[in-house]
């Protein structure tokens, strides 16, 4: 089993804490007055997203977490699981609703996602920063109203609802920023 010592600690390092995979956010070496050296560490539990503060004795070792990020294509959802494939190895993995999280409402077949794998299973899924989706439903609105103040809700093909400008209509393809969940642009076909 691979281990890391506090001397290896740095932002992004994946370690096992309380049986959960975690990612180090920040590490600061402290040597108080004339006392014993220790590391002041902030780490994120990759399962719960919680950030935890803890100190470690200098030289203390912790188990490494087998966590890697990889780009995969979204294949389909079978009702319970979302299936993804590595385009190079054709290896497939599936993740449940907890792992897929918010990304679920943006994913369209063939979209490339960044999957965080822990011991080979998806821990989290990040949708692409921008997705292009077709509007399946929105209020037609008043013709000629381009004031744009506030816009209107529109339902997309994946079921997600975003606010769009009044002039955008059913059947059009729009670009959405998945990080903010906001309309970004119209996609000309």
């Amino acid at each position: 089993m691979a281990t890391y010592s506090t001397n290896d600690f740095k932002g992004g390092l994946k370690i096992m804490m309380d049986n959960d995979p975690c990612s180090i956010v920040e590490n600061e070496f402290v040597r108080p007055g004339k006392g014993p050296a220790f590391s002041r560490v902030k780490y994120r539990n990759l399962k719960t997203g919680r950030v935890i503060d803890r100190t470690f004795k200098s030289g203390e070792t912790v188990e490494a977490a087998d966590v890697m990020e990889t780009e995969m294509s979204y294949l389909y959802n079978d009702g319970d699981f979302w299936h993804f494939m590595d385009d190079e190895t054709f290896e497939q993995v599936s993740g449940d609703a907890i792992a897929v999280g918010d990304a679920a409402k943006w994913l369209k077949e063939q979209d490339k996602c960044i999957i965080t794998l822990w011991n080979g299973s998806p821990l989290s899924v990040a949708a692409p920063n921008f997705v292009e989706l077709t509007i399946t439903d929105t209020d037609p609105g008043l013709k000629g109203d381009t004031s744009g103040g506030g816009g209107k809700p529109a339902t997309l093909e994946t079921g997600a609802v975003v606010r769009v400008p009044l002039f955008v209509q059913i059947g059009e393809v729009i670009k959405v920023d998945t990080r903010t969940g906001e309309y970004s642009a119209r996609v000309k076909s």
């Binding site: 007055g33 004339k34 014993p36 100190t55 470690f56 030289g59």
Partner: protein
């Protein structure tokens, strides 16, 4: 054809402006002490003895020799011992800008090789030395700094509700656990001074007011290191530390001059090293002998110059003020 990887490690990590700031700081220091008749000295960084403090880890090397017995030498963790030998020999007031070395100390505020300004004043009390420190720092910062002098006890009680002179290991570890750090016990072992230092750095140092220079004085007797003890009750160590923007800048003592007590403290530290399985090191018999000969009443302090430069230049990391930090050395 062989392709060589482009080496990006060669340039310095500090800006050209910082080279100038460091040079200007050294000039300020030299002018400051020249005006006060304090002599600049130069002592070796290599010594046959090492610091016995279990929390300090010295670099060691060997003196090449044709014989079978190679002599171990240690890089100094501070110039204190050599400077005290000069003082015992009658040097009077002295200062030194000295490279110092500590193993396994690397981070945003630490580099294994760093620069200390250390100075000793004959006949000075701690209060005199703190005043001189303030005057020097005012010059370095080029402003009159707001400063607070507060006893370790007052500060500790105010921030944690615990009296550091009367507390126990149990009370301190319970406090750390309450604050979310049950691991304090593992880090500090069963040492009261270690646990006091841990609590201070976790819950007090981090909460000091910014842009105020703190002089923390009168340490618990168990944290005396090389300082004299007071005659008053509770017995305190005649030691002070300086903090600015939550960073420890300096540590000063009214110097212990009793050779017997000094030897006892070294022996206690060596016993603690053995107990904790730390490397065995030789104590500085030359320092003990110098104290036996006689050390004039004096006070001395070590100030971290790299950290001072960090503070005056608003640097985020010590690398920004060093030409070549350890990973580029």
């Amino acid at each position: 054809m062989l392709k060589t990887k482009s080496n990006k490690q060669w340039p310095p990590t500090c800006s050209a402006a910082l080279l100038h700031q460091r040079a200007a700081l050294y000039q300020t220091i030299r002018d400051f002490f020249a005006q006060r008749g304090v002599l600049e000295v130069d002592t070796p960084v290599l010594s046959a003895a090492a610091s016995c403090d279990v929390n300090l880890d010295s670099f060691s090397t060997q003196l090449a020799s044709n014989g079978l017995n190679q002599q171990a030498l240690y890089l100094q963790t501070s110039p204190e011992f050599a400077m005290k030998r000069l003082i015992a020999s009658g040097s009077g007031c002295i200062y030194q800008i000295a490279k110092s070395f500590r193993q396994a100390e690397s981070g945003r505020f630490h580099n294994p090789e760093f620069t200390l300004l250390e100075w000793y004043r004959m006949g000075f009390s701690l209060a005199d030395l703190m005043q001189e420190m303030l005057e020097l720092l005012n010059l370095a910062f080029n402003q009159n700094l707001a400063s607070i002098t507060v006893s370790y006890e007052t500060l500790f009680k105010h921030m944690t509700g615990i009296n550091p002179h009367k507390t126990s290991l149990n009370e301190l570890t319970a406090y750390a656990t309450e604050q979310g750090n049950p691991e304090a016990k593992l880090i500090c072992g069963d040492s009261l001074s270690n646990t006091l230092d841990y609590v201070f750095s976790q819950y007090i140092q981090t909460k000091l007011k910014k842009e105020v220079l703190y002089f923390v004085t009168d340490y618990p007797a168990c944290m005396a290191m090389l300082a004299k003890l007071s005659d008053s009750q509770p017995v305190t160590a005649k030691r002070f530390e300086v903090y600015y923007n939550n960073l420890e800048l300096a540590n000063g003592y009214e110097e212990l001059s009793d050779s017997t007590v000094q030897k006892q403290r070294f022996q206690q530290e060596l016993a603690e090293r053995e107990k904790q399985g730390a490397t065995k090191v030789p104590m500085d018999e030359n320092l003990v002998a110098a104290l036996e000969y006689g050390l004039p009443e004096c006070a001395g302090v070590a100030l971290g110059l790299d950290r001072l430069l960090m503070l005056t230049s608003n640097a985020h990391s010590i690398d920004e003020v060093l030409s070549f930090p350890i990973d580029r050395a």
